[in-house]
């Protein structure tokens, strides 16, 4: 087996005339946490389903754990843990029953699964919900249970499709904490997300996808260094005046982006830029200096923001 757990070359997936994934290449190494970042419709979930050996590709080469998912789907799936975008728990069964029956789908012995349930419940912070029907759980709890369920077979790769979409901020932070723990334990993670903060927190390396293609690849800090400046100054002059004033501000920064509600000025020292534009007689209604993020990278690469 090669060192790469996942190897994707020239992967293309078409649905009729529509090309969902257009010739992408990437690889994931052991114990790496790898992300697919992009807006809805970028082709992330399609890519994930092909890697999870539940969807057929149109062309290209895919090797998961050294095997071709089209030829050895069940063999590959025996070593994967999958957290789909939409929870698909057995809602009539209790929390612990869900973990149990899922382990059984892998053919694991009763004894083995029962020895794992306590740890998994602890991991998912669901000890007190052990005998509660899944129907009655909150969205965040269901999500954590789905992740715990994916771990019951001790997978070599954990695949998470939009793990925190639809959760409130508190539930997201609990989930990130859990995922971070897995990352520290050396579990190989493959994550899709359209949240740049999620990608920054969890991914060692990621690809930025848009319309089925890869726009950029690297670690979050590399991508920011390459495609954005260290800092960003956000100023607002009111939605009507932003566009008019923007042309006069270009000289003060490396790059400028005009959004409907605000102007982004890219520079290594945001405060200095703010001082100079105020010195030049401009008086923004509000101003904010922040570090550049993957959101800025995406904006630079595609001219659009991640969440529209």
């Amino acid at each position: 087996m090669s060192e790469n757990l996942i190897d994707v070359r020239g992967l293309t997936k078409k649905f009729g005339d529509f090309t969902a994934v257009n010739g992408i290449d990437f690889h994931v190494r052991k114990s790496e946490s790898f992300g697919l970042l992009g807006p809805n419709g970028a082709g992330k979930s399609t890519t994930m389903r092909i890697i999870a050996a539940t969807s057929q590709r149109t062309s290209g080469e895919v090797s998961i754990l050294g095997k071709d998912p089209e030829l050895e789907g069940p063999q590959i799936r025996a070593h994967l843990g999958v957290v789909p975008q939409q929870d698909n728990l057995d809602i009539q069964l209790t929390v612990s029953e869900n973990l149990y029956v899922y382990g059984r789908y892998f053919g694991l012995s009763r004894k083995f699964i029962n020895s794992k349930i306590d740890d998994l419940l602890e991991f998912a912070q669901l000890e007190e919900k052990r005998d509660v029907k899944v129907e009655a759980l909150s969205g965040g709890m269901k999500r954590r249970l789905t992740i715990a369920r994916a771990l019951v077979s001790e997978p070599d790769i954990l695949i998470l499709d939009e793990p925190t979409t639809g959760l409130d901020p508190q539930a997201r932070h609990i989930l990130w904490d859990r995922l971070f723990r897995l990352k520290e334990d050396g579990v190989t993670l493959l994550i899709t997300t359209h949240y740049m903060d999620e990608a920054e927190q969890l991914c060692d390396r990621l690809i930025v996808m848009d319309k089925g293609s890869i726009m950029a690849e690297g670690s979050p800090s590399e991508l920011i260094r390459k495609h954005a400046t260290r800092e960003v100054l956000e100023v607002r002059f009111g939605s009507e005046r932003n566009k008019v004033i923007a042309s006069g501000l270009e000289q003060f920064c490396d790059r400028i982006e005009v959004l409907p509600d605000r102007i982004l000025l890219y520079a290594d020292d945001g405060e200095a830029v703010l001082e100079s534009i105020v010195g030049a007689g401009h008086s923004p209604n509000t101003s904010l200096v922040r570090r550049s993020s993957l959101e800025d990278v995406f904006l630079r690469l595609t001219g659009r923001s991640l969440i529209e």
């Binding site: 999870a52 539940t54 969807s55 057929q56 050895e72 789907g73 069940p74 063999q75 799936r77 025996a78 070593h79 994967l80 999958v82 789909p84 939409q86 698909n88 728990l89 057995d90 809602i91 009539q92 069964l93 029953e97 029956v101 899922y102 059984r104 789908y105 892998f106 053919g107 694991l108 369920r149 077979s153 001790e154 070599d156």
Partner: protein
Amino acid sequence: MTLTDSSRKISRFGARYVLEARLRNMFKFIWVIAAISFLNPLLYLISFGVGIGSLITSNMGENGIDGVSYLTFVAPALLASAAIQGAMDEAIFPTINGFKWSKIFYGMNATPQTGSTIASGVFLTVLVRTTISVLAYSFVLYLFGAMDSPHAYLAVPIAILSGASFGAVMMAFASRVTNEDLFFTIVGRFLFGPMFLFSGTFYPLASLPIGLQFIGWISPLWHATELGRYATYGHSISPTMVMTHLLVILIMLVLGLLSAFKQFSKRLTK
């Protein structure tokens, strides 16, 4: 940390684990199922067998229909329709739930399980549920004295086979459903209703105008009922017809299963 490859074991015995999970689901409703399984025959037998039966007896004599009492005549038909009803419930709801409501089949399919093992597991559950319904119904029929002939016990496997056959066909249909409201309307009003009323359940099929008899010919319920009557009271049909009825039921079983297996795999890997 990698566990041994379980995919070989799953390709052979995977259905067993799907059955196990399905049974856990089913046993959450075991009291409902038990109540339906015993109350249904009780209500039907009292109203048809005893109620309408006494009317028929007073007009046509003690053995006025097909040479037997009305209760004896109607019992095998009710048994077969209970088998089919039970099989239908267990085939339709879990299948639509698995693909659409909770999408649990997609969760199963992310493991070494495949469309075929999942479909087999669901079908095995249909068999278990049908067997429970048929045994409960037969027991009540026995108490009413409708299972007295020496070959009456044969009505049990016949009913189970018919239920399984119809269940397989319904699995094939349910696995294609995207609009379940429409599907339930069609099944309830245009399939099960007419089938129940026009399959020679309450009167011999031959007493219908020939133009309506075809409903019986394509209805698994009629074939099952004819065989059931042959077993419980020696209803006279030729050996050719016995073989024909069995063949129709078996063909439906095989076609239903093949189609369901194909569609389960197709829909899960779309």
